[in-house]
Symmetry: D2
Amino acid sequence: MSGFNGLAIPGPTNMPFEIRQAMDVALQDHRAPDFPKFTLPIFRDLKRIFQTETGHVLVFSGSGTSCWEAALANTLSPGDHVLTSIYGQFSFLWAQMCERFGLEVEAIDVEWGEGVALDFYEQRLSADKAHAIKAVLVCHNETATGVTSDVAAVRKILDDLAHPALLMVDGVSSIGAIEFRMQKWGVDLAVAGSQKGFMMPTGLGIIGVSQKALEASKSAKLPRSFFEFSKMIEMNADGYFPYTPAVTLLHGLRASIDMMLAEGLDNIHARHHRLATGVRRAVKAWDLTLCAKDPALYSDTVSAVVVPDGMDANDVIKQAYSRYNLSLGGGLSKVAGKLFRIGHLGYLNELMVLSALGGAEMAMLDSGIKIEPGAGLAAAVDYYRASGERSA
Amino acid sequence: MSGFNGLAIPGPTNMPFEIRQAMDVALQDHRAPDFPKFTLPIFRDLKRIFQTETGHVLVFSGSGTSCWEAALANTLSPGDHVLTSIYGQFSFLWAQMCERFGLEVEAIDVEWGEGVALDFYEQRLSADKAHAIKAVLVCHNETATGVTSDVAAVRKILDDLAHPALLMVDGVSSIGAIEFRMQKWGVDLAVAGSQKGFMMPTGLGIIGVSQKALEASKSAKLPRSFFEFSKMIEMNADGYFPYTPAVTLLHGLRASIDMMLAEGLDNIHARHHRLATGVRRAVKAWDLTLCAKDPALYSDTVSAVVVPDGMDANDVIKQAYSRYNLSLGGGLSKVAGKLFRIGHLGYLNELMVLSALGGAEMAMLDSGIKIEPGAGLAAAVDYYRASGERSA
Amino acid sequence: MSGFNGLAIPGPTNMPFEIRQAMDVALQDHRAPDFPKFTLPIFRDLKRIFQTETGHVLVFSGSGTSCWEAALANTLSPGDHVLTSIYGQFSFLWAQMCERFGLEVEAIDVEWGEGVALDFYEQRLSADKAHAIKAVLVCHNETATGVTSDVAAVRKILDDLAHPALLMVDGVSSIGAIEFRMQKWGVDLAVAGSQKGFMMPTGLGIIGVSQKALEASKSAKLPRSFFEFSKMIEMNADGYFPYTPAVTLLHGLRASIDMMLAEGLDNIHARHHRLATGVRRAVKAWDLTLCAKDPALYSDTVSAVVVPDGMDANDVIKQAYSRYNLSLGGGLSKVAGKLFRIGHLGYLNELMVLSALGGAEMAMLDSGIKIEPGAGLAAAVDYYRASGERSA
Amino acid sequence: MSGFNGLAIPGPTNMPFEIRQAMDVALQDHRAPDFPKFTLPIFRDLKRIFQTETGHVLVFSGSGTSCWEAALANTLSPGDHVLTSIYGQFSFLWAQMCERFGLEVEAIDVEWGEGVALDFYEQRLSADKAHAIKAVLVCHNETATGVTSDVAAVRKILDDLAHPALLMVDGVSSIGAIEFRMQKWGVDLAVAGSQKGFMMPTGLGIIGVSQKALEASKSAKLPRSFFEFSKMIEMNADGYFPYTPAVTLLHGLRASIDMMLAEGLDNIHARHHRLATGVRRAVKAWDLTLCAKDPALYSDTVSAVVVPDGMDANDVIKQAYSRYNLSLGGGLSKVAGKLFRIGHLGYLNELMVLSALGGAEMAMLDSGIKIEPGAGLAAAVDYYRASGERSA
């Protein structure tokens, strides 16, 4: 099939050539005396991306999933209570992992399309005078539904109640793309992956760890070894790793960070908002709705488009892939077949979004969904063009 | 600027990853005993691409321009007459090169947007009883205007008159993308470059040479050395080159040929026609016209879109590049500012074309051209979707 | 510093261009319908490399260390006894990890330079009538000392005693380089990494899992999630992963496997033996000794060269790196400063070994070690040249 | 065949990863408004490499051969006299090219192994009162014999005689590796290629052009078009090219220049001298001789090693390639079979040279040449080690 694959899933995202180039290196000795010259600035700059000065940011071979595990295993003990809201596949899976580790999960099931259950959190935490709840989990950007939750509001609840629970946040599809302030929001464990906002290949899990989380790790009883924070932090301090790191991916990470800092986090956030707005204009022009229930919840990194009753979103995805070489995201679990997802994060511009919208239009028409051909494209074109100044 | 550059110029075109990969090789000795195992199949397969069994296809470091020179210098002598039609910048430049080499150029200036002047050719050739005209030049696909001329018709004129002139064809933006039959059409010198239908980086000139052209080279008096056919053919026969070839680019060429043969020339031509038709539907929906005067002349590899009087096509190009990271082709020479060009050749699919059309729409609107936002996109979406079957 | 880095450490090893090329790909959707076409043959072919028909071979983002953990966490329960021998840094670290997971480690400390303690194993296993020992660990090739142990002999002890303990083998620096027969030797968990015999970048842990190990995992109580076998095997069966896999590295793995199967496992083993023998000839010519105590223990993938008393092996390594751009391996832990290690595994030939030997010679001389300049090189040259036939 | 190919030919040379990376780019529009930001610094920095402030340095798709042609075709007219010395294959081929262009070649055949015939030049130039000789040719570093000639001495002859002939120098295997001072030595046309000192792939010819050469080009009558200087210089001034340039190779050139300037030309020259000296020590230890007749002529970029009478140098090359994956250079033309060449230029260090020497030793022994195994290696080891300080 000729032509590039359109990658409009919410990760992996499109990889810039700078990152590909950066990874096209020979293998090297990760115990060489000059290796720290390469790694120490990475560790330093990751803190800028996570927006923390007092915490650490650690890099593991793995994925976001591995850092979910690292967060739990390093800071909790069997039987500890964790509080969470389930409003999509990823918040669900993290809760499920908690159970695998013998934690007591206090979870509320929220309708998919809603965000973190602030009322429930406040109620449970205020009732928890004994501080049995050791961790509060939030999926910042629920990739399955295109919903962004208010992490700062959760922090405020904890602070207002002076509750000492750790705040653990899944920022896999938010960090590096939309606003995420680890320190300001008092996030204790911030989980990211390489293949979303970092624009990299899959293969790395990245986790921000607060001093409070480190303190908790000293008494945490869950076993861990590969994901142990203390040894990693100790070795990282000198620029090394406790075991073999994924060096070529670290080179990609260096390039990724460079690009992010060059564009500027604020500019990155603004760009994502602008691109996402165009997508939402298109969805409106198609006369369709998003899974996210409220504009305040709309994610700037992924939009989950609900197809009309009786239509099959999976067929849309199939047509897009097989006829137009466009990868759209599917509905997961309970929304399977009901929605398709357009990822709009990472290394992206207006024309790449138009391409995805065009493919989605054609695939929907192929699947028998009645939309006006070109309507979504026209709305996006109109918005992108108007929301900026022409070059002088 | 985030996101990929949209490359919608008529060459260089978008490079497939397969070709990038293929060129990511260590340097090697081009005089090694196993080098011919690599080169001989390339020479063989190039003949399939050029559709010649009796001719040779030679590869030079250079570009299409260098092969124009190779064609002239190897087969003609100072003062020889050449017949040509000028209907765009590239037909003009080739004629100009003829003059630099001391040839007598009999040229007719045709309005840009028209194709090769068959009547003029017939008239001049039939009058040339002494066979003073040694070569007839045709720019198969005039990249500057988006016009494809009828090479077979020129051959027919020559045959009908039994005129022995060599038929030299600039196939730079046609070979490997639209139908080109070197042997069937009796083309004696067929010029191509690496960066168009071959989907490769710039840096190679490729030329098909008929037996008749080789015969002519024996008495041709123009000096040449680097571009000398006979030595190249002699060395190529054993898999070598008379001097240092561009080996990494040859690896790219190997991958390019593999991809072309895998897709099949007929399928490539059909795909280009389909993609081009979508572009033309968009132009019509914008209520604009092409530079090409007649549908029979419409090029399937590049469309030159004429902007309304008073509008500045260069501003469209500028807006596209600076605001949307889209490279459009400019109007050259006498059509500068009057048109912009959309390249639609090489490694390309529907979504990539939509992306270019969307960028062109926005840039035109930015430049004050009154088009209906989304109109072109809608027309293309409509066409692409309808002109195929949905996946079962 | 001009010129390539000489990578003569026992991993990461030198990466072939074929593998670099293979990883130079765009990102892709690991949930796409055609993804299994890519992954299923990898899973199948890995079984050929591990030489098992009945087991599974699983690929994790991580390293050998992560697969040590996977082996333990999937098959054992807190308090389970494991039997091991410690004869180098890697056998030591794995035992240490066992303790972190709350296992009862029955270990014997063997002099570094010796191999697995067969007598001790036999004695303990025969005494263990209650089968309290649930796992027997063997570091097949102790990378720290250059010692290869006899895994088949351990299996024989277990079989002779009909002891049901799982046989867990660290094959990180052996699998893919020297003989390793998972099924024939009855290995239940076989741990490898991407950066040694597989000639790849760091970043993957690869583990062979027998049916018996899978059976054990059903009742194993250690918590695990990221490294859980059952979910991985279930998803792998359809060509997918339970979470985001490291796709670019999987492309490298594909190329690695292709190269290994093309060369043939037997040929790979013979090549490693030949190259290693040349290194040993050099060491002898230098009048130095290996850490490995007995020729039967000599590793064909790494040689640990003991420097004379009073000399500093770390200075040798420093001179090699800073003056000659050669990476040698250092002595770890209790042999720090006493030896340096020459890795000779992976993508390697005679001249690459000579280069490392030459660098080692110069660095030793720089460090004041009295060797005859060129003596080691001469011995290796002599051996390599003689041990083969000249080309006809 | 496992392991890297040892590339010990005098070009193409070993390519640094930095240059590979730099060329791993997407295709781009070479007429884009920001293209000059990329090209203009290249043009500027090339003048530093060629050591000229007043001249231009031009880059053509091609090779050194194409720049030989560019030098001649731009500055001379049919029938012009050129003076040259033939002392190897490359000085021979350039003279032969002169004849193809209808020039009158006044050449002296010098024994291969000698350098430029200064006496002959002085005699002919002083006799040429009418200044019929328009150009004097010197092959600075005769790659076929490993001889470096004294360009400054030729300039002195011209100056002493106030002879206006252009001084044309083939610096293909010298520029960027050993001292070459275009302006100080009054070189009017300085020819280089991408694949030697520039450490790049083959595919570019690079030529330095003095103001005097440009002046000559105004009246020069030889036809040229692709290689025309004036148009190239005119377009280069704005950062563009008159036709499609080889953009990916230009990216490699950028990286090459960066590396050369970072190392420093003086350091590069010193490194080449040091590496070459080690090779010469090895040759002496083998009790063999170089083709170059006098130490003053020894090339620091290539050594041509003469095999004993009755031995076949081509068999040495064959054994090296087929048994040890080492590419050595062959004897060309009249020295075919009598010598083999070791290239030692470009991206190179001591261990890479040792590797080549080791391969040469083994191959010579395979071919029945009686040398002491390891003798050459020992001599080189001894020299490299002693000629520098150990790291503190």
